[in-house]
Amino acid sequence: MDILQITELVAAGFGAGTVGAMLGVGGGMIIIPILTTAFEFQFEHARATSLFAVIATSSGVAVATGKERFGNLRLGVLLSLPTALVAFLNAWLAQGFKASVLYLLFSVILIIAGILMWRPDPDERALSDNFHNGGVAGPFDGSFHDPKFKKNINYRVRNVPAIMGVSCIAGGVSGLLGVGGGVFQVPAMAILGGLPMRAAAATSNFLLGITAAASLPFYMARGQVRPVETAAVVLGVLLGAFFGSWIAMKIHGNTLRRLFIIVLGALAYQMFRKGIQ
């Protein structure tokens, strides 16, 4: 591989990592279409590369924000068991799917992600302090210090079985298509579970790495990884994730989010075309 190819792959990873970190989505939804259309990767190679990028992002964010304890570790551990199991089984089943079917499924997932992202983030203040004084603490209720509002946020977790159901769907999508699944998990935790967005995003980030690690051995065992190209993309994603986290503080999220949804629509169309070819 020459310097130019490496630079192009690092740049693609950097772009995906930056946009992913700015919008709070995993890079997989961007990386897979870019790799399959611009770099002519086969779907299974792009899927494995994307899953490595998901682990790198999840681990990088955990290092950067772990001290703040935003994530709900107990909820994360509980959800990780069925989610990893579904991802593991789906990665096994994925070998029986034709690439054209996977492309079509991917375009459907992009459209669903676009619909989920269209609504703005729920008001953090409205969701953040739902723990009333004198209540009874459940096993998943949590508390963290929010640096933005400069106060401790206590929250109750509701509807754990419903969150678990959505998390299993996210795990299935991750194992089959190689995307992180955070675009499903974060709204489920925030809207169904009542977690503050910050806690939902950190808990989902914890889950993403485990889910990806559960499905990857299948792809590695079947020779569906291109390690050097993966190395270039993952390094780009890691750098992009740090840059995107920094720039996210300076740019208004909702306008950018709507622009990204248009891009998602275009990518969904590309993947749909590949699927029917």
Binding site: M1, D2, I3, I6, H45, F52, I55, A56, S58, S59, G60, A62, V63, G66, K67, R69, F70, G71, N72, L73, R74, V77, S80, L81, F88, F131, G134, G135, V136, A137, D141, G142, S143, F144, K151, N152, N154, A199, G209, I210, A213, A214, S215, L216, P217, F218, M220, A221, R222, G223, Q224, V225, R226, P227, V228, A231, A232, V234, L235, L238
Partner: protein, 131 residues
């Protein structure tokens, strides 16, 4: 379920969410840095000449014959394994920590996930090569 104790901020509410602690973060940081270093090494090595494997993908069983990677593909493959092992080791630490704080139910869930991940890796090493 139990009555709520006063939290560290003095108001009624749940205790502050448990974190992974410095050891958990160190494990994750170590995994990411190891993988990143191996990836950089692989990319430097790959610019020195063509990679001697077809474009169909890497077969991880080759690592056993080349445990100290001398070619970029093996070096990058080792980085990939370091990345996959990072969440596994992180989870082992979390399970230990949950057991120590007498959260045995959650610790069992964590060990369940560890079993799934280890099972996946076992599958990786024992599956016949698919070419």
């Amino acid at each position: 379920m139990k009555r709520v104790d006063a939290t560290d901020n003095g108001a009624a509410g749940p205790r502050r969410t448990q974190g992974e602690g410095p050891v958990g973060r160190l494990i994750t940081l170590g995994g990411v840095l190891t993988a990143a270093a191996l990836m950089i090494l692989a990319l430097i090595e790959s610019t020195r000449g063509p990679i001697g494997v077809d474009r169909g993908g890497y077969h991880f069983e080759s690592l056993a014959e080349d445990i100290i990677p001398r070619n970029p593909e093996s070096c990058a493959a080792l980085a990939c394994i370091a990345l996959v092992l990072t969440p596994l080791l992180r989870l082992v630490w979390i399970a230990i920590m949950l057991s120590r704080s007498k959260r045995f139910g959650f610790a069992c869930a964590a060990f369940g996930v560890i079993m799934i991940l280890t099972g996946g890796l076992f599958f990786l090493w024992n599956s016949p090569p698919v070419r």
